[in-house]
Amino acid sequence: MNGTPWTGYFLDGRAAERHAVTVAFGTSALEIADADGLPLATWPYAELRATERISAKRIRAGQVLRLARGEADEARLVLSEVLADDAPLDGSRLTELLTLAPQLASRSRLSRQAVRRFGLATAGFAAVAAALWFLWPPVADLTAGLVPRSWEDRLGRRLVEELLATGKVCNEPAGTEALDRLAARLTESLTPPHPVTVTVVDRAEINAFAAPGGHILLLSGLIETAGSAEEVAGVLAHEVGHTVERHGMRSMVRNLGAGLIFELLSGGSSLANVAPVLTMLAYSRDFEAEADARAVELLAAANIRTDGLADFFARLAREEEELPQVFAYLSTHPAAALRQIATARGSPAGGPAMTPEDWAALQGICGSAE
């Protein structure tokens, strides 16, 4: 053992004053005594902990060593002159201490146990997330099914009012009649009946919406740029498909819940702006495919040729680069190119969607021929 005692100061965790101490290596514990040699504390080697990790190789002259006893005790022992300027590491007091309390030099905090724990926690977290991912849609659909039809209808009307605030309603009588006839033909085959209300808004974008409760909006840009009445019929049938499957209500509940779950699990800092009701009308890809399939059924039942929707998407994909307003439809109805393939089974068998007179009237529904 070294002749000179190891000095430093002791903070007893009860008061803030420093006690000058000398430290001696006992048989099973560090013996801490004050300047007069009176014992202050005895710290077993097995319980020693360094508040900052020490690496014997990187220890520098003049560095101090801060020790604690266990995890909870606030007392601290600060040893100075861990290594004198010229002293070799071998045989020093530090190496002696590290032999008696090897845990002080333990290499890394990330022990095998920690790796296993974090691994398990990560797997558990992933499992919970996956379970929610698969379980949430059916749960959301059940919840949506509990909403009374009258609420759904009222909600849809409110949403349409919000959207209508952005443009004037087109209601030339002849065009409106033509459109209503088309809508009636498309919904005729449905049991139980699903009444829809179709409104045309005077806006240049190519887009259509199906709000809850069968409230369908067509933007006039879609009608004006359509190549045929069958294209409009295809889009309308698609939106009716959304209505029949109650996609509006279902995706509202789904999206609301999914957003909440994501933010809660990720500790997201955007909880403060949980999306309000209005942004909930973007449909998922499977809803789009469902609506497409429904559209083909409805058109066939109404004896209208079923390739209109496919034509519409084909034209949209072609014009995507030229017409900026096309983006509006693509952003709410993604992957147009893929869906063109999905609806390719539409066939030219069947009759026209409406008479040439009705089609002309529909195209003039906004009154502005110029």
Binding site: R14, A16, E17, R76, L264, G267, L271, V277
Partner: protein
């Protein structure tokens, strides 16, 4: 105060410490508070944290925060004694889980309410939005105070804990009242609410058995605020940096603990430069220069903090135990100021 007494105070004696008043220059070896962490060391911790947080799908982030705090605290020294952070990642994680359980019903309730208002009382939809805003603001204030309480209870200096007493609900009450009055007075109430909140926070803070005392009054900052407010538009809001610096100087001068008094002689230009340059560093480096930003920030505040007075450390005894789990709400809303 002569340099002789100043240097005598440099190595604190073991009993009472007398500290000379002097705003130390940047290279002053006897700076009262100093940060001596190497940016490179912090950078490795930061990098390791990023990787581990990524592979654990974010779960590691509580332990990551803890590691960063341990590093920074242990390299921050006052009177040649480092601070020590004794919080754990587990505590932060449990706090987060608790907050999550509390938030689920609140947000489901808000969602349903939003829906009902939209459905049945569309003309009062604004009330639903106001309620949502109020609840979220309240959660932010509650979370801030609770986080402060946790952080203080896990901060050790000379083996003694800090303690943030007081009630988060009272704090919330003061904050919401202040927010309302600020809105009603077009912002003119700002200095009053700022000082009121600072006062509540500081007068409930203690180091062990020694309470901090803060005797600031909002009216003292009213004139500077009026000037900064009037000049806000012509100076593109840069006058607010000047007001911020003025506030820091004022807060420091009104604070005392255990016979110590403080001064923080910073100027608006310095504060503006620090914050703008830090922001630029973070943006340009995509966050990788975070350790440098920490170093610059802490260096700046340490260099500018002057402390004066005498402390009898024998009379400072241990504080009561703090909360068992940490932060919770504050893990949401991203309210960590320096990111630590």
């Amino acid at each position: 105060m002569t340099d002789a007494t100043f240097s005598a105070a440099m190595t604190p004696p073991l009993g009472a410490d007398h500290i000379a008043a002097k705003a130390p220059g940047p290279k002053e070896p006897g700076r009262r508070v100093r940060y001596d962490g190497r940016s490179l060391d912090l950078f490795w911790i930061y990098l390791k944290n990023l990787v581990l947080t990524f592979v654990t799908l974010g779960i590691y982030r509580f332990w990551a925060t803890t590691r960063i705090r341990r590093f920074i605290w242990s390299h921050l020294r006052f009177l040649d004694e480092p601070f020590e952070y004794v919080g754990t990642g587990k505590e932060l994680f449990l706090g987060f889980l608790k907050a999550m359980l509390a938030l689920i019903p609140i947000f489901i309730g808000l969602g349903v309410l939003d829906f009902l208002f939209f459905q049945f009382l569309p003309e009062f939809y604004w009330a639903s939005e106001l309620l949502r805003f109020t609840i979220i603001m309240s959660l932010i204030y509650l979370g801030t105070y609770a986080a402060q309480r946790y952080r203080m209870s896990r901060t050790l200096w000379r083996g003694i804990r800090f303690q943030q007493a007081g009630s988060a609900w009272v704090y919330l009450g003061l904050a919401m009242r202040g927010l309302l009055l600020t809105v009603l007075t077009l912002g003119l109430y700002t200095p009053f609410v700022n000082v009121r909140l600072k006062s509540y926070e500081m007068n409930n803070l203690s180091f062990g058995s020694q309470p901090f005392a803060f005797d600031g009054q909002g009216k003292d900052l009213f004139k500077p605020f009026l000037i900064a407010w009037a000049l806000a538009l012509p100076t593109l809001f840069l006058s607010m940096f000047w007001f911020a610096a003025r506030s820091y100087r004022y807060y420091a001068s009104r604070l005392s603990v255990a016979g110590l008094r403080f001064a923080m002689p910073v100027t608006g230009l310095q504060v503006a430069w620090l914050q703008i340059s830090n922001l630029l560093l973070l943006v340009v480096s995509l966050g990788l220069l975070y350790p440098v930003v920490v170093r610059r920030t802490l260096d700046f505040w340490c260099q500018n903090l002057a402390v004066e007075g005498a402390v009898d450390f024998k009379k400072i005894s241990q504080a009561e135990q703090g909360p068992k789990t940490g932060e919770g709400l504050a893990s949401y809303f991203g309210m960590d100021a320096v990111g630590v």
